[in-house]
Amino acid sequence: MNKRFNSITARGDSIVPENPYLSVSDVTRLVNDILELQFPQLLFRGEISQLTLAQSGHIYFTVKDEGAQLSCAMWAGVARTLAFKPRVGMTVRCHGRPNVYAQTGRFQVVVHRMFEDGEGELRRRFLELQKRLESEGFFAPERKRSLPFLPRAVGIVTSSTGAVIHDMMVKIRERFPAMVVYLADTRVQGEGAASEISQAIRRLDRSGLVDVLIVARGGGSLEDLWAFNEEEVVKAVFACSKPVISGVGHEVDVTLCDLVADVRAPTPTAAAEMVVPHVEDLLFHISELNRRLRDTDRWYQPRVQRVDELSLRLKSRLVSVSKEAALKVKAAEATLSRIKPDRVIELLGLKLLAFEKRLSDAARRDKRDRLNKLEALNSRLEALSPQSVLNRGFSVLYSKGAHVRSVLGVKRGDPIEVRVADGIITGVVGKEIADG
């Protein structure tokens, strides 16, 4: 608050000043004071319509929209730090302090920061480029390569100044202290950044030193991250012979570099986390494998146990075999012991006697039978004896020493002999008369 301003309010309180008229300079100063108080910082956006680059390095320009225009000035010191060249027709975002330029009485804004307001325009270019590169196959999922399990070395493309490289190194150290990291230092925004980034990617790739690359940058506006949307960078990532992780901006920022990379990390630190495995995990895994390898319980002892088991089974089998045998012998012994030898002999004797009897009976029967048969045969034989025939009164005729069986056997006058039971009668054939 200042004196002159107070004097006005004082007038409102009906204090009559000696001189109610302010000087022009005072008016200007007064207005400037009010403006300064009211608008310590004015943020506005519009299109540059006039532009004068003064000898002094100051820039005078007009920013307008459909209904109004603002005179602007930018001092040389600020103008030198601009990330872009202001041009007529360019939409810009300005940070400034308004005042009235006393000499001309003109209202103006002294701009101390100015950004190219690319958002709309950049977004349009982004989508256009994305569409084209996509149709050319740059973002095809099938060409995404998987990351090496454990790279020999990691290449990082980012700025050597700032928190990003530091944070990434901390993360890598933490996970895998022995990992070698090659940094290709580049600018990550502004004119020429895209070209530096592309060159850095090619340089790391050609060096053959690394197995994987990270392209990284901290968060920022679309404009800040624009270098990572340039076709040049997309093509460099695409052409890289090693897998590339893109860790550009925050999770919400999507760049074309993210889309073309083999893996997109939400942040640079996340990229660092992905690029190397955790050494503790690996050591644990190895220890686990080592433990399993050394765990003879799992592969050696079972064999020993198997041998033991077989040996036991063999032994027990032998025992059971011999037991069986012993049992059999015992049973036999028991059987034997039940038998009384005397009784056996007695039984045997009786059996023998019975057998003998049967034998002698049989023999007797046999003898009688034979005698009977002999008798029968004998009587049949006797019946056939000539003597017995003669005894029964028959006689036999012989002539000339031969038995005469037919009338034809003799002729009249032949001598004959008749054998009868008690002697012989001789004679001569008188007449032979045949029967019939």
């Binding site: 990351l147 399990f149 454990l150 020999r152 990992m179 190895i286 079972p302």
Partner: protein, 89 residues
Amino acid sequence: MARGKGVGSVDDKISLEDIMQGRVTTEQVAKLSFEEALTLLEGVVAAVESGSLPLDQAIGSYERGTHLVQHLRALLSGAEEKLRVLGEE
């Protein structure tokens, strides 16, 4: 995340078969990349555990398995500062 083949391995690949047949020297093991050595170790452990290896092969595999473990641990050790700035061409 899927991790693919590591780069920078020796040209004449050592197979699990080689390990189990005892055709691998300590020097050859020392040249293996981390991933190769790890894959082999996993194979050796699985084979030994299966109990189907003849005993002499199982014991030989066990010995070479411990070589692989030593090699893997060696690859993971070391903690010196290893950030190198790649110079301009």
